[in-house]
């Protein structure tokens, strides 16, 4: 579950990226956050990942008030979130397997269990045969799927994605989004920031629309045309 309660974020210099933002994404729900460039989508995800702190308001993530998470607790909280980035953020000098394995190494999972889980995650994104390859030898879409496998390998309760289909062709973008929808179906809370309106409409999920940091529309899945 994700809850934003009257959240504002003002950067140094006075720019207000988010203003009085309140919304809630229920456990096991999938929602899109959309808006034009500078609407506050990325800031919203940064607040969830504790890369930034809100100036005002409260955020609760998977039952945990983020205001109570201090610096030493940030890594532990991030291990409970799966994060997918537009630019994948893979380690190019390590194999696909090693990239996906990283969160499990960080989490202190036993080696045999790591192998099992990495293979399961790679199988889910259709890249089991690529585990020994370096990411650089993969296509952009495949790299994004490696990033998704890395995000889901710890079986997070919450999955957040920042423009995960930004660099992909439409067909691949649909495949990636269907993958996210699949995770939602098994109970993961999924929040995807995207400005790809045709894709969002096609997915028929809840849409939170931001404009200049303010929530201007919150459209339920069944109302998406």
């Amino acid at each position: 579950m994700i809850r934003f309660d009257q959240v504002s974020k003002r950067y140094e210099g006075g720019h207000e990226a988010l203003s009085q933002l309140s919304f809630e994404v229920a456990e096991g729900e999938m929602a899109f956050v959309t808006g034009h460039s500078g609407a506050g989508k990325s800031t919203l995800l940064k607040l969830l990942a504790l890369i930034e702190r809100p100036t005002h308001g409260h955020i609760v993530l998977d039952g945990q008030p983020l205001a109570k998470v201090h610096a030493p607790g940030i890594p532990r909280l991030r291990r409970r979130i799966g994060m997918v980035f537009q630019d994948h953020r893979l380690l190019m000098d390590r194999s696909v397997f090693a990239n996906v394995e990283l969160p499990l190494v960080i989490g202190g999972i036993a080696p045999q269990e790591r192998v099992r889980r990495v293979r399961a995650a790679l199988e889910k994104v259709g890249l089991l045969d690529y585990e020994r390859q370096l990411p650089v030898s993969l296509s952009t879409g495949e790299q994004q799927r490696v990033g998704i496998a890395r995000a889901i390998v710890t079986r997070p309760a919450v999955l957040i994605a920042d423009e995960p289909t930004g660099n992909l062709d439409p067909q691949l973008a649909v495949e990636i989004m269907e993958l996210f929808a699949g995770f939602q179906q098994v109970g993961t809370t999924v929040l995807v920031a995207s400005h790809d309106l045709p894709l969002i409409k096609r997915m028929r999920k809840r849409v939170v629309v931001l404009d200049h940091g303010r929530l201007v529309a919150d459209v339920a899945a069944e109302e998406v045309l």
Binding site: G28, A49, I51, D62, A71, P72, P75, R76, L77, R78, R79, R80, I81, M83, R89, L90, L91, L102, P103, L104, V105, I106, G107, G108, I109, A110, P111, E113, E123, K124, V125, G126, R145, R150, I152, T154, R155, P156, A157, V158, E175, I176, E178, L179, G182, F183, Q185, V186, G187, T188
Partner: protein, 325 residues
């Protein structure tokens, strides 16, 4: 390629931490092993830069070891030339042999005296007469003007101060005219060795600092070149300790290898000196004992260098990662 929908039960958040809690020691050990191996692979991945760093550090650490070796051997040389040479005690002219014997008895009872030999005036005269140019001069003497002389040998291991105190006591003894303490040169040598030891200590400190800076700078560059990777690790939940660990191991490897190199270089210097030293020993009838670096030091040097590398890496990585966070 089709993308499979996930199957099975709902993914569970926080499973990683549950596993960590149930096997904290095993996890800690595994990550140390992982970090040690990963850092070694990184070092091996850029052999030229790694060897250059190790060479610079190794040379810096070899210098104090070599100086220590040389200084130790100067000390050995001093010992071979006479650590506590005998003190000559000249009795007042006309003092009879009984006085000399009495003094010998008193001196033999002292803890700081190894032995005393008595040289009678006649023995002294005989020695002088054997010297070129003295025999004719001695013939013209009516009486033997030489006094009894005692050769007092201080105990081995006495420092210069104790020998000096012994000489003072000898001067105060009944019937003694003059005391000739030839240990002054030894005192000077000891003072010089003391200065040398202090210089080696200062040098070792400065060069250790240089080695610390070399490791620190190497790790700093390494961290800067891996800023993206560090950012990713932190975003997916790595703690600072986790991120820092491979860099600490890199510091340990740099230190350990450069310590081994320093020891090898010092042993090389020892081997190069062995020939000339053997010749010098021969000149002293083989009595000159030249020592190498003690085994304890040879073992301690790489370990101390590894600790130095760890410290350099720790200081820099803490600062760098604080900035990156």
């Amino acid at each position: 390629m089709p993308i499979d929908a996930p199957s099975g039960s709902r993914p569970e958040g926080g499973e990683s931490s549950r596993h960590t809690r149930s096997r904290p020691l095993a996890s800690w050990r595994e990550h140390h092993g992982w970090s040690a191996a990963a850092s070694l692979r990184r070092l091996a991945g850029r052999p030229f830069g790694t060897l250059l760093t190790i060479a610079v550090m190794g040379l810096a650490l070899a210098l104090p070891l070599t100086f220590y070796l040389l200084l130790g051997n100067v000390q050995h040389l001093g010992d071979a030339l006479g650590r506590n040479p005998a003190i000559s005690v000249f009795l007042q002219p006309g003092q009879p042999g009984s006085v000399a014997q009495l003094l010998v008895k008193q001196l033999d009872a002292r803890d700081d005296v190894a032995g005393v030999t008595v040289k009678s005036p006649q023995q002294g005269l005989d020695e002088l007469s054997k010297m070129q140019g003295f025999s004719d001069a001695l013939k013209s003497l009516d009486d033997n003007p030489l006094p009894y002389v005692l050769q007092v040998q201080p105990k081995d291991g006495l420092d210069a101060g104790a020998v000096s105190r012994l000489a003072t006591d000898l001067r105060a003894m009944h019937g003694v005219d003059m005391v000739q303490d030839s240990g002054t040169w030894r005192q000077r040598l000891d003072a010089l060795l003391h200065v040398g030891n202090r210089i080696v200590l200062i040098l070792a400190g400065l060069l250790a600092l240089a080695a610390l800076l070399v490791v620190g700078n190497t790790v700093r560059v390494d961290i800067a070149s891996r800023a993206d990777e560090i950012g990713v690790l932190m975003l997916i939940g790595a703690s600072r300790a986790f991120v820092r660990r491979p860099y600490l191991y890199a510091g340990i490897w740099y230190g350990l290898f450069s310590g081994v190199l320093a020891v090898l270089l010092a042993l090389l210097v020892e081997a190069v000196l062995a020939g000339p030293v053997a010749a010098l020993s021969q000149a002293y009838g083989g009595s000159l004992h030249i020592g190498g670096l003690p085994a304890g030091l040879l073992l301690a040097a790489p370990l101390a260098a590894a600790a130095l590398g760890w410290l350099g890496a720790r200081l820099v990585s803490a600062w760098q990662l604080r900035r990156a966070a």
